[in-house]
């Protein structure tokens, strides 16, 4: 990886649209929107609602399925000199396993991120991420079916995120990413209807940053694998906060919508941050919070 900055799954599609705004080759890695075994249409609209310092979404993993991804998105992505991480989700253990098998031998994928934390689907998703037993099992199922580096994306909607992190490491994860969204809800006081068609949705953006930093820090105390820090990162200093807490890399979500150039600004920003402090190596800040 050229640098520790990548998009968070679901906020960058498969790169096409934002390639008009930034040079994808500059990214540390490119994490694509969650891919499932078969196409999913996603949830009924409205799917978005803006709240204080954040947004709720209930997209529902809309995507065209793994075959379409391999045929149509991957060839596009292979043009770029950037590690491609495919994010996958299934309704069952077997689906995660099968997705890993489908990816086997496919050229141009550098890693797999298991989404066991989507709050917007009815089966699977977050349920896998909220139980250490299931989280370990799903990781092991994927591990058994792939040789690629395996990242497991954790949900913040739990009491003890370290325990889940520990479990997925036992299951064979090479890294963990956190956090996915917090489950939230908002109600229209005019119509008395929820603002989202799916009633509840995932809260992202600056509002969740303190929760995310705390969880990264907790997990960094517990597991030895690299951590990708996610949640409300909007600026260089936000990213630095996650690195200090123990993240090896960061992923940027909602902020891409606000400013498509934000990842490039953060990549440059981290460099200047280090330079200003005469640091030559990002490891001089990773996990270096003085507690």
């Amino acid at each position: 990886m050229k640098n520790p900055v990548m998009p968070a799954s679901g906020t960058f599609g498969a790169g096409r649209e934002y390639s008009e705004f930034i040079d994808l080759n500059c990214l540390g890695a490119l994490v694509v929107k969650t891919v499932t075994l078969r196409p999913r249409d996603g949830n009924a609209p409205p799917r978005l609602y803006e709240v204080s310092s954040g947004m709720l979404n209930s997209i529902g993993l809309q995507n065209e399925g793994i075959d379409h991804f391999i045929e149509h998105d991957l060839p596009y992505l292979r043009q770029f000199d950037v590690p491609i991480i495919i994010n996958i989700a299934g309704n069952t253990l077997e689906e995660y396993a099968q997705l890993c098998r489908e990816i086997k031998g496919v050229e141009g994928i550098s890693g797999i991120e298991l989404n066991i934390s989507c709050p917007n689907i009815k089966a699977g998703g977050i349920a896998f991420g909220a139980s250490s037993r299931l989280a370990e099992q799903v990781t092991a199922a994927a591990r058994y079916n792939t040789d690629l580096p395996l990242i497991v994306k954790l949900t913040p909607n739990v009491y003890n995120v370290s325990k889940i992190a520990q479990a997925v490491v036992y299951g064979g994860a090479n890294a963990v990413s956190l956090i996915n969204t917090l489950v939230g809800m908002s109600i229209d006081t005019n119509t008395f209807k929820p603002h989202l068609g799916n009633i509840t949705g995932g809260l992202s953006g600056p509002a969740i940053k303190p929760v995310a930093v705390r969880m990264v820090w907790e997990v960094a105390q517990t597991v030895k694998v690299p951590i990708i820090g996610i949640g409300g990162i909007n600026s260089t200093l936000d990213a630095i906060e996650f690195l200090l807490a123990g993240a090896t890399a960061v992923a940027i979500g909602t902020a891409n919508f606000v400013n498509p150039r934000v990842m490039i600004e953060i990549i440059d920003g981290i460099e200047s941050f280090l330079r200003q402090r005469n640091m030559s190596d990002i490891r001089q800040i990773i996990g270096k919070v003085k507690v």
Binding site: G42, E50, K122, T254
Partner: protein, 279 residues
């Protein structure tokens, strides 16, 4: 699509609560088409972070574009406080615009309220293409009837409806359309306005076998087709208003929630919701 830091060079409070801003951007104005929109960061440093979409209302060719907006919430409120010479972070032009060609014999442009914003730009382009068109403008009351002179100057005949009858037809613009379509007999209708109005316009067009394009509104996050948040329901499944629209063929839109196919209910496509959701 481009992201630019653009100067505001003119601002006007057209009527109380409705503002126009003219924003300098050669790339956006050169590449724009009627019906497209721009996505503007309105509220930097505020507690609301997402951009807000606005139709391109007029073009100063090769130089600048204009938006026309009503203050309805925090984003538009913040935007109304922008001053001339302020710089705005704008992404655009976005979406697919209205489809038209010089071969159209006659067009009807139906605007509900601020829905006229993209239609004036369309009217100017139709004029360039020498297409005959009729503007039909609806507003609550006469004083809220915007850009009437502009449409009148270039339109064939301008129809007006006001909810209180203070000007033109006494009633809604959808209502006026319904009463007049049989003698205007346009080849195509271009409509923009609130959803209930568009729905009625679409129905009327359908009844009279007239083609109809509508410009839809939804909440947007990215505005460029990435987040999949601005879905609307069409006969071809969910479409993104920002990328596949905002202009759609009216016949493709499913206006009634009850008509939504069971496959469009959150599970895998080609399965009923039941089967896909064992949990």
């Amino acid at each position: 699509m481009f992201q630019v830091n653009a100067d505001v060079i003119a601002k006007e409070e057209v009527i109380p609560g409705v503002f126009s801003l003219t924003i300098v951007s050669p790339v956006i104005s050169e590449n724009a088409k009627p019906g497209q929109f721009v996505h503007i960061a309105c509220n930097q440093g505020g507690n609301f972070i997402l951009r807000r979409p606005f139709s391109i209302h007029r073009i100063v060719p090769g130089k600048a574009f204009e938006i026309l907006f009503r203050v309805v919430g925090r984003g538009t409120e913040a935007l109304s406080r922008v001053k001339v010479y302020d710089i705005l972070d704008v992404i655009g032009p976005l979406g697919n615009g209205f489809k038209y060609s010089e071969r159209i014999t006659s067009a009807l442009l139906v605007a509900g309220g601020l829905g006229l914003a993209p239609l004036l730009y369309l009217a100017e382009e139709l004029t360039n293409e020498q297409v005959k068109f009729y503007p039909m403008l609806g507003a609550q009351t006469k004083t809220k009837l915007l850009r009437y002179i502009d449409f009148k100057r270039i339109g064939k005949k301008t129809y007006v409806a006001t909810d209180d009858g203070s000007s033109g037809h006494n009633g809604t613009v959808a209502d006026l359309l319904n009463r007049t379509i049989h003698y205007i007999r346009p080849e195509i209708i271009y409509a923009c306005g609130p959803e209930p109005m568009l729905r009625k316009v679409a129905q009327t067009a359908d009844e009279f076998g007239v083609k109809c394009q509508v410009s839809l509104e939804t909440k947007m996050a990215c505005g460029v087709g990435v987040c999949l948040g601005c879905a609307c329901v069409t006969r071809q499944g969910y479409k993104m208003v920002c990328k596949d629209g905002p202009v759609f063929d009216a016949r493709d839109i499913i206006w009634d929630k009850e008509e939504i196919e069971p496959t469009l209910l959150g599970g895998y496509r080609c399965e009923t919701a039941k089967v896909s959701d064992p949990g």
